[in-house]
């Protein structure tokens, strides 16, 4: 029972929405349901947030290793939440000065904006920026000519890396123009071997083709998985019968 009803709900909802795509009267249903999903996700924060607090409070009360950091997490969480929900430091919107709560929660100069600008944003964007370092170490370690596939991978990356900067042009433009001029009497004769031109061709031919094939495969994979979910063939997301 505890699995059958949800299964029926999923199947009915899914097939109905598939059908709705072919009926003009109902074509907007899919969009509406996704807005509903956002609402549910917002409510579900209560579950996630409660769990986050629970885990850290447990850590603190058990004095487990690193419980001090848990204190910081709980404090940061609570302060951010109170300031954001309470719209601390938010003035009314200039269009509606007589409504005290009309200001945007992320209004410039408000408490939440301060937290966003000076804590969340620098930390998150630095985390993001670490990628510059990891991309270097990945290039060093992963691009080794172990087999044909690896050679192709690294050669392409190599060409694209060079061709995207002035180095590629500097390395190939002048020499190729000179060669073309002297061999064929036309400076443009060998222009297609310029690194920047090769990069353009790689992107518009192979990269495009590869991505397109991947996309077609993904579409089929999603169709098959969706059908399996709707038909109840794959019901692992539902949990157990008990």
């Amino acid at each position: 029972m505890k699995r059958t009803i949800p299964l029926l709900i999923a199947a009915a909802t899914g097939f109905m929405l598939i059908l709705s795509e072919f009926i003009p009267l109902t074509q907007s249903w899919g969009r509406k349901v996704m807005i509903w999903f956002d609402i549910l996700a917002a409510f579900a924060f209560v579950l996630g947030g409660a769990n986050l607090l629970k885990i850290h409070l447990q850590k603190i009360s058990n004095r487990r290793v690193g419980w001090g950091y848990s204190v910081i997490t709980v404090v940061a969480f609570t302060i951010t939440m109170v300031i954001g929900l309470g719209k601390f430091g938010v003035t009314p919107s200039e269009a509606f000065p007589d409504f005290a709560w009309s200001g945007d929660y992320l209004q410039e100069g408000s408490g939440f904006d301060w937290m966003y600008q000076h804590i969340y944003l620098p930390l998150a964007s630095t985390m993001f920026a670490l990628l510059a370092f990891y991309i270097a170490s990945a290039a060093f370690r992963a691009f080794r000519a172990k087999n044909t596939e690896a050679i192709i991978l690294l050669t392409t990356a190599f060409i694209v890396l060079l061709g995207r900067t002035y180095a590629g042009i500097w390395l190939t433009a002048e020499p190729l123009a000179w060669l073309g001029q002297n061999l064929f009497g036309d400076a443009q004769a060998l222009a297609m071997f310029r690194l920047d031109v090769i990069v353009d061709n790689i992107m518009s031919i192979f990269n495009m083709a590869g991505n397109r094939a991947i996309m077609i495969g993904i579409a089929l994979g999603i169709v098959a998985l969706s059908l399996k979910v709707l038909l109840g063939v794959d019901r692992s997301y539902l949990g157990s019968e008990e």
Binding site: A136, F143, A167
Partner: protein
């Protein structure tokens, strides 16, 4: 030594990355760029107009996108000033007002002899209404902009006295970080009234605008690389700019890029050298 590289601690790679980015930044290192066809089209659109043409400088970007767009906007301003064009600054973004100010500072500081407020350039400032503003100013500028940013009536400013609407502009230069921006200027002004237009946009925004080139949009600069190429094109045509390091901002930002790219290329080579020496020595992996 060989052992050092085989067991290379990746923190050395990280340190190398930090150095190759930081040093060119602090030194202001830059390298020449080769302007692409598209960038040359943008350059020509500004350069081939007769001196003293009317240009609408529509700068719609904010501090968040300044990093990508400021060098472009500054180069547009300088290039136009070199051609002694009459510049009408305007924006649809409230946050862009300080950006207009910065570009006007360039005019005052570097072209003060040629540029007098009200005769050669005017700052119309910001008006709310997004594309609605464009729809109005294409037919009647003074309907929305009775005054300039200082509150002076356009009727009393020599260069705006006879401007009825922006169809009288010879070119629209738009630097845009999103909506409203380049797309709206193309749709409601440039393509509707066949006004020539060039635009500079962020890397993210560029692909959506390519379809407009070249019919509705004479040229498009996408991201800092195109800005660097444009700086290059301008400084090739006007070598006197070479004395002013501020004209090389985008080129300078491409400096760390080039070195970092070469660094990664070097790492790939180094990785393979290690790989093959190990194979030769038969080090088991």
């Amino acid at each position: 030594m060989g052992n050092f590289f085989t067991n290379l601690d990746r923190r050395w790679i990280f340190l190398g990355m930090a150095v190759v980015v930081a040093i060119p930044m602090l030194q202001g290192l830059s390298f020449p760029e080769e302007p692409s066809e598209m960038v040359r089209d943008v350059f020509k659109a500004v350069d081939e107009l007769p001196d003293g043409s009317n240009i609408l400088m529509a700068y719609d970007y904010d501090p968040a996108t300044k990093g990508e767009l400021e060098p472009m906007a500054a180069t547009f301003t300088r290039h136009c000033a070199k051609k002694k064009h009459k510049l009408y600054f305007i924006t649809l973004w409230p946050a862009a007002v300080p950006m207009l100010r910065q570009n006007i500072d360039i005019l005052e500081n570097e072209f003060g002899n040629d540029y007098t407020y009200g005769e050669n350039y005017v700052n119309l400032g910001f008006r709310p209404g997004s594309e609605g503003v464009i729809k109005v100013v294409v037919t009647d500028l003074k309907d929305l902009f009775a005054n300039d940013v200082n509150g002076e009536a356009l009727q009393d400013i020599p260069m705006t006295r006879n401007i009825k609407n922006i169809q009288q502009m010879d070119l629209i230069v738009n630097v845009s970080a999103g909506t409203p921006g380049a797309k709206e200027w193309v749709q409601y002004a440039a393509s509707k009234y066949q006004i020539k237009m060039v635009a500079g946009v962020t890397g993210v925004g560029a692909p959506a605008l390519y379809p407009y080139v070249p019919n509705q949009l004479t040229g498009l600069l996408g991201a800092i690389k195109a800005a660097a190429e444009y700086e290059q094109a301008v400084s090739e045509a006007y070598p006197e700019f070479n004395d002013n390091p501020a004209t090389k901002e985008a080129l300078r930002r491409m400096g760390p890029q080039l070195i970092a790219h070469l660094y990664i290329v070097a790492l790939i080579i180094l990785g393979n050298v290690i790989h093959f020496t190990e194979k030769k020595r038969g080090v088991p992996r």
